[in-house]
Amino acid sequence: MDIIQVVGFALVATVLVLILKEQVPMMAFLLSLFAGIVIFLFLIGKISDVIDMLEQLADRSKVNMVFFQTVLKIIGIAYIAEFGAQVVRDAGQEAIASKIELAGKVLIIVLAIPIISVIVETIMKLMPV
């Protein structure tokens, strides 16, 4: 019944934001940011269960832990970038939001460099020169 909690919380937050938006727009923005943070914190607990399970699977199948950590970091960057971009977009700053998304993409590709180079090396080994 967690979803009912989340939806109820979100509805209450939305009503309060709508009340505040007329008088003090800054406060309304902070309120919506706070609501977003709370919901995200609530979800993080659940996500950690999933990640524990994935970690066990990776451990059992003897996957190189470096790759697994890279994938986890990429997922984390994607979550943070998405969160930040949505908050900024909510405040009406479309340009800054797309810069955040661009930064997320660039940082992800930087993290993926070791994996990509390993793939390229493997392919080079497979190919008859």
Binding site: Q5, F9, V12, A13, L16, I19, L20, Q23, V24, M26, M27, A28, L30, L31, L33, F34, A35, I37, V38, F40, L41, F42, I44, I47, S48, I51, Q69, L72, K73, I75, G76, Y79, I80
Partner: protein
């Protein structure tokens, strides 16, 4: 999630009270005081939000192995 609901009502209450004080002070003709009240209310709420944001980032860091 209970204390979070409490704090979201707190933020909304601060916002409404600040708006009220702002209106009253403006009616009395004290424009500069009114803007200071708004600023201070904003900073109080900003502190609450930033503490929560810090908590969120710490959680993300621990869960996604950023250390």
């Amino acid at each position: 999630m209970n204390e979070d609901v409490t704090s979201i009502f707190q933020i909304a209450a601060v916002g409404i009270i600040v708006a009220m004080i702002h209106t009253v002070l403006k009616q009395m003709g004290k424009e500069d005081y009114a803007s200071w009240v708004t600023l201070i209310g904003f900073i109080v709420v900003l502190f609450m939000v930033i503490r929560k944001l810090d908590q969120l980032f710490q959680e993300i860091k621990t869960i996604f192995l950023f250390q």
